[in-house]
């Protein structure tokens, strides 16, 4: 037992309708870099949140440094020596580096001067030259990461978990991170390294676990894996009847986007055909949502041209986009899609009120029919039409939003993470819906972090990496690994 810093046995975690973790067991020895690989939604961050005390586990045991831990709060985990570096750093931008490192523990260092002195020592110990008095807000991404690592060291952590550490680093900064990881390993500190980027996994990690759909697929020393084997295990889900047969209604080009450029996006050009499902694949933060928000007029992008059925069309805001026949199911359901205190009916008929108004008066009766029709056709499980949206399940809420757009029969429907946090049953219904839309002559742009979903539903796939389109594939003809390769870049 001595040589394992962390033993996780049969840990489970259930969210309404979704099994996030299903009997996960891992053992992390001391002083090694332990890689965890898996797609979005495979359960990686849920596991980390349980270890750090943000979530409660629903079953199984966690033994850290020989001590079984029942339930813990973030600060207790830190004090025990287990610290986490999240993808978007947990730092206070308006405070100095020294203060961030010793946040909440100023008394121990007898005031600010002691704090900054200690911070200086720790920063020197990992060879960083950052001044402890600079504001964290003014630091670069890699400097912020240094601060997070130093913060972990300030708790003399025995285990540091890094969630997607390389997502915002340049290759040169990545090398420096590698050096530091090796230094930590030599000091006997073990590191859990979570990442998509396989070449980092191969370079730094000693043992690697592959997670998929909340289950551990395989745990082996990194040497015994081949790259393709790892990707296959990450991606290769046996596709029983999880997806309906792909729809084949691709017809003439409908929408064309020419040289879309913003701070984040670099000359995006693509066309969308009538009856086609176009999938956008890429890592988190690659710029997929930015593309559709610029297209839809939600963000103020300039200088790009949009052609609808060949004719140039001017889309400056969502209203013009809707006039041009577009609809958007946003990524963040709670903040951008739903009005939780409102009734199911109110949420469904939101987009089609304008069509129902004559001389400025909204036709209430027609509104009720619309809501009823959508609830029946999408089989939304809700006690009455006027129950509040907040009391519905995730799947039903999503169906309401999709129903909101189906009502105005858009030519182009943009779906941003349509099935995130939804149970498998509801997912299947949404897939059927998508096919029905495409069948009746509409077109769909779909963004999803679940590779199998995109590959099985789309007629064509574009891979996006760091704001650029890096590849175009036909899912039938190319393998998941090929596409994944381009998406990772």
């Amino acid at each position: 037992m001595g040589e394992n810093i962390l033993v996780v046995k049969d840990v489970c975690k259930y969210f309404p309708g979704v099994t996030a973790l299903d009997n996960v067991s891992i053992e992390v020895p001391r002083g090694i870099v332990y890689g965890i690989v898996g797609e979005n939604g495979a359960g990686k961050s849920t596991l980390m949140k349980i270890l750090s005390g943000v979530y409660e586990k629903d079953g199984g045991t966690v033994v850290f440094n020989g001590e079984t831990i029942e339930h813990t709060t973030p600060i207790q985990a830190l004090q025990r020596g287990l610290s986490i570096i999240y993808q978007e750093f947990n730092l206070v931008n308006s405070m100095t580096v020294g203060e961030n490192i010793f946040l909440g523990r100023f008394k121990e260092n007898r005031g600010m001067r002691g704090t900054h002195k200690k911070a200086r020592e720790l920063l020197d110990s990992i060879g960083s030259t950052i001044n402890t008095y600079t504001m964290v807000g003014d630091l670069s991404a890699s400097e912020m990461q240094m601060v997070e690592i130093t913060k972990a060291l300030s708790f003399d952590s025995k285990l540091i978990i890094m969630d997607e550490p390389s997502s915002s680093l340049t290759s040169e900064e990545l090398k420096r991170l590698g050096i530091i990881i090796n230094q930590l390993r030599d000091k006997g500190i073990s590191i859990i390294y979570i990442s998509h980027k396989l070449d980092e996994i191969f370079e730094y990690c000693d043992i690697v676990t592959i997670l998929r759909d909340g289950r551990v697929i395989d745990t082996k020393p990194v040497g015994e894996y081949t790259r393709n084997e790892m990707i296959a295990k990450m991606v290769g889900r046996t596709i029983e009847n999880e997806f309906p047969p792909r729809a084949h209604f691709v017809a003439e080009p409908l929408l064309e986007v020419r040289n879309l450029n913003t701070k984040k996006l670099k000359d995006i050009n693509f066309t969308l055909h009538r009856g086609e499902i176009l999938g956008l694949v890429g890592l988190v933060g690659a710029g997929r949502t930015e593309i559709i928000r610029a297209l839809y007029g939600a963000d103020k992008a300039r200088g790009h041209k949009i052609f609808l059925r060949g004719k140039p069309v001017n889309i400056r805001n969502p209203k013009q986009a809707m006039r041009a026949g577009m609809g958007l199911v946003p990524e963040d359901r709670k903040h951008e899609g739903l009005i939780l205190p409102f009734s199911v009916e109110g949420n469904i008929t939101m987009a089609s009120l304008e069509a129902l108004t004559k001389y400025g008066i909204v036709n209430r009766a027609a509104e009720r029919d619309i809501a009823k029709r959508q609830i029946d056709s999408l089989s939304i499980k809700t006690p009455t039409q006027t129950t509040k949206m907040i009391s519905l399940s995730g799947g039903n809420q999503q169906k309401c939003i999709v129903g909101r757009w189906l009502e105005i029969e858009p030519d182009i429907l943009i779906l941003d993470e349509p099935t995130r946090g939804i149970d498998v049953g509801a997912k299947y219904e949404i897939y059927l819906l998508m096919n029905k839309i495409v069948e009746s002559g509409g077109a769909i742009i779909m963004i999803s972090s679940e590779l199998p979903e995109v590959l099985n539903m789309s007629n064509r796939v574009l891979t996006i990496c760091e704001g650029r389109i890096t590849g175009e594939f036909k899912p039938e003809e190319s393998s998941a690994e090929e596409i994944m390769e381009r998406a990772i870049g």
């Binding site: 839809y296 939600a298 805001n317 969502p318 209203k319 986009a321 809707m322 958007l328 946003p330 903040h335 951008e336 899609g337 739903l338 009005i339 939780l340 205190p341 409102f342 109110g346 939101m350 987009a351 009120l353 304008e354 108004t357 400025g360 008066i361 909204v362 209430r364 509040k388 907040i390 909101r404």
Partner: protein, 322 residues
Amino acid sequence: MKRDISARFTRSLRNNLVLVGIIALIVVTAIIEPKFISSANLTNVMRQLWPLPFIALGMTFVIIGGFIDLSVVGMISLSGVVAASLINPLGQVGAILSGILLGGMMGYLNGFVLTTVGAMIQAEVLFITFGMSSIYTAIALLLTNAETLRIARSTKPYNIFTALGSGTVGMIPVVLIVFLVILVIMHLFYKKTLAGRSISLMGGNKEAAFLTGYNVKRSMRLVYTISGIMSGMGAVSLVSRVTTATATSGIGYETNAILCVVVGGTSLKGGKGSVIRTMLGVLLVVLLGNCMNLLGLSTFMQTVMRGAVLVIAIWLDNRREL
């Protein structure tokens, strides 16, 4: 089955707490002070009610839209002063209309400033409308040099003006009839028209409304224009009742209006709310004031009571689940 009835009863009770409050208040005060339900006192209450309902009506729309409007103080003063001083040049009907029109223009200016500056959260809106209010009050002070304008001094006839304020048709004050007409119009506007619905959608979730094609900035300007028009009408009704207009006549109406709206049951979070319930709030607040007057409590005790009721109402409103 029994548990279900009691659940529905408590829920309906909680929803129209205001109605219960009003009835309880009337019963209790009638017992203690029989003069309370005498016709003289009721007409007195009817008369002292104004211009609060107008301002509360305007404020309801602003709060349903998810914002707040502290500039009513300045708008009431300036519209009232302008209306009173324009009786001579424009005649009384022209004066009344110009007062209301000026209110609307000031409301639109508020909306315009807030949208161009891109004020979204409660803090920004609160302070900018407070700033606009002191600007309008200052202009009113400059125009009248802080003197009291009396309608009686104007040469042109002003009978319609005063009739609007204190005239009565049978037992019912004229201004009440005018107000009820406006109340019905605004209620229908809110419930039935697209513009009305877009205000409540904006209040519910600004980003969702924007993404479903609603022009949030236009709704914001509309809401503040309504508040301006209502302040104009309130100012005219106040001036016609008191036959004088001063540059400080609007003081205190903004907190009272918010009190009526929140006590009525419209949530400060925006989205849900109703104009009718605010009127019940107005009735409760005024009856509370009147009953305390008759019980001999000093006017200052009323301010304490109003402050306490406002704080408790906001606290309960915040705890009420969505």
